[in-house]
């Protein structure tokens, strides 16, 4: 193919692409006005932009003269200028530094100002500590489901699991707790927790001690709670100790009691901070 005809051929493609592009734009506008699916809108946009792209690339690659330019890299500053810059900087610095007392005071004044300014950062967040060390569970708080219903001794059957909150605090992230009822007799509580799990009910914090995800899955056959985020597993029969995955701490246990009216209540808050570890948590 000789050059002129090739060019006119390419020119025709470019022209066609631009026409198609306009069609796409019109299609997008019409589609917008009449309300069409996202697919149609995406397609129309793509045609509008794609047509432009084809035309512009053909133009840039074939319809303008293909030139090669050579830029030379010249050093932009001479060694004389480099020396000059060094001297100017040195001389200026030296003038400032000569006034020892003043220049030191200047540095200190800036530093003190910086420290003072740092105080404002404090306004950005609240002191996290009290909230990290306690939850909304209080002695006597009734356990309620997510819909606010309190839980009666007869409500759960063996191997049933529900998420509970302290009454009045449904949805409180730090107080979410899993309540399980085990088959009679399989739970052998340690002596320090002997009266924490009346009528085979046992409750653990639902906040994973690894990175805080809700520990939502219960494998009843193995009596394990599983965290879906990084697959930590906790042994329900043994203080919810981690037996697999990246978690290092057991899920804190909520001491339960069953009141005379038959409703489940907390004996107290958790005895240790819930959730992932942090520096001030203590060893």
């Amino acid at each position: 193919m000789n050059a002129p005809s090739r060019f006119s051929w390419l020119q025709r493609i470019a022209a066609l692409a631009l026409l198609v592009s306009m069609l796409g734009s019109v299609g997008f506008a019409v589609g917008y006005a009449t309300g069409v699916s996202a697919q149609f809108q995406g397609l129309a946009l793509a045609i509008a932009l794609g047509g432009l792209a084809v035309a512009v690339v053909i133009w840039g690659k074939f319809l303008v003269r293909q030139e090669r330019v050579i830029d030379l890299r010249e050093p932009t500053s001479s060694s004389w200028e480099r020396n000059d810059a060094t001297h100017a900087l040195e001389a200026g610095t030296e003038q400032i530094g000569r006034r020892h007392l003043l220049s030191r005071l200047l540095g200190s004044a800036f530093a003190v100002f910086g420290i003072a300014a740092l105080f404002t950062i404090r306004s950005l967040g609240q002191n996290p500590y009290p909230q990290l060390f306690r939850t909304k569970w209080t002695p006597g708080a009734r356990l309620v489901r997510e819909n606010g219903q309190p839980i009666h001794r007869e409500d759960l059957v063996a191997d049933e699991i529900v998420t509970v909150f302290p009454e009045g605090f449904v949805g409180a992230a730090d107080s979410q707790t899993v309540l399980l009822r085990l088959a009679p007799g399989i739970l052998q509580p340690a002596s320090d927790r002997a009266d924490w799990s009346p009528s085979d009910y046992v409750a653990y914090s639902k906040v994973c001690t690894h990175a805080g995800c809700p520990v939502g899955l219960y494998r009843s056959a193995e009596h394990q709670l599983l965290c879906p985020c990084h697959q930590s597993m906790f042994d329900v029969l043994d203080r919810a100790k981690p037996i697999a995955g990246p978690a290092t701490r057991p899920l804190p246990q909520l001491p339960l009691r069953i009141a005379a009216d038959g409703y489940l209540r907390a004996q107290s808050d958790f005895h240790e901070p819930i959730g992932p570890g942090f520096w001030e948590r203590g060893a």
Binding site: Q39, V57, L124, A244, G277
Partner: protein, 460 residues
Amino acid sequence: MIRRFVLWLDDRLETASFASHAMRKAFPDHWSFMLGEISLYSFIALLATGIFLGFLFDASDAHLTYHGSYAPLVGANVSSAYDSTMRISFETQAGLVIRQMHHWSALLFVAAIVTHMARIFFTGAFRNPREINWIVGLTLLLLALGAGLTGYSLPDDLLSGTGLRITASVAMAIPVIGTWLESLFFGGPFPAPQMVERLFFTHVLLLPALIIGLISLHMAILWRQKHTQFPGSGRTELNVVGSPLWPNYALKSLGLGLAIFAVLAILGGFFQINPIWDYGPYSPSEVASPSQPDWYVGWLEGALRLGPPIEFHLFGHTIPASFVPGVLFPLLAFGVLYLWPFIERSITKDDRVHNLLDHPIEVPWRTASGVAIFALFLIVTLAGSDDVQARVIHVAIERLIVVYRVLGIALPIVAWLVTFQLCRELRARAIQREVGEPSVVEFIRSPNGGFEEKQPTDTA
């Protein structure tokens, strides 16, 4: 007309001398130089779609009952952030396309930056005099990751909420300042009610402003230092050969940009991404399972899964297990990358100015190191979805984790050795091919009429 404009502008800003050079500036034609441009264009797409979304999104934690057109969620208690994202997706004309384009652009943005940096790394383009721009570029990658993470968390859906919860826990794992850092960013212990507003501010102002500033710096430095180029006919350390900015390069680059926008429109229209209606609104006691984050945070997720369950104690204080994989590992990884130009310099003792690029096979140890780093990131990223893999291939997840831990150490080493050997052999062959041919001295005619001898390709 043009002349009048040039004169008018030059009278006021004295732009003519700059423009006369700029129009003829040489842009090398190698395809790999387009990767950086792709990052730039996907960022432009992010800005354009982001402006649209920014006007429609309601960054508020105030809860209300959903009454939109997505039937399964009607009656659900959702935040205004979630509600407005649903409105953008279902009730706003072109809203879904633009929202999905925005998300796809973000994925492309990070991917393009990573491949662009790989190009820079494997060809040694970071060497003297370009160390500063390597650092600027790496910082841009970090900012892009931050922008991605904050943006993807904005809709306050269950998936991203879970991600934020993990992020907050990892922040808390930092010794001494962790709890305060978490509280200062989120406004209090997670989940704090101000979260969405803070993420919004960070995502639409703080990070974009920094990114725009650093892109400007990146390109100003590039402009001043001129492009690198691969060795070849007529190309030396002292010149740059390529298409002139105006009109050739400008047209080609504009065409590339338009083509990228077109691809993003197809992705936005046809490929569903981040369907927050499937995940549902965030609730601290629920979790989306399996929860897979965007691809570029997969390596952090994977690191958390592979980290050993070991907690440290220091003077009665706790350093949680997630500190090593979640904080130390990323710091080390990016630390090595930041320092790479200087690490390499201290090994090679080579402080000369390099404007000609290396072919990756020419420097086996550098290429091998880069491949090893990629291998490590690949394994850690794959480990980020180990639960899904375990289910698909019916292997106990504990086994899979052991496999990944071993691979995480072994594969980078193996990859290093294999790449090193491969590069050496390829290099030897290339040298042989060159030495085998009769040596001909080529002369290049320079623009001002002189002749210069062609530089032999550097194979030493």
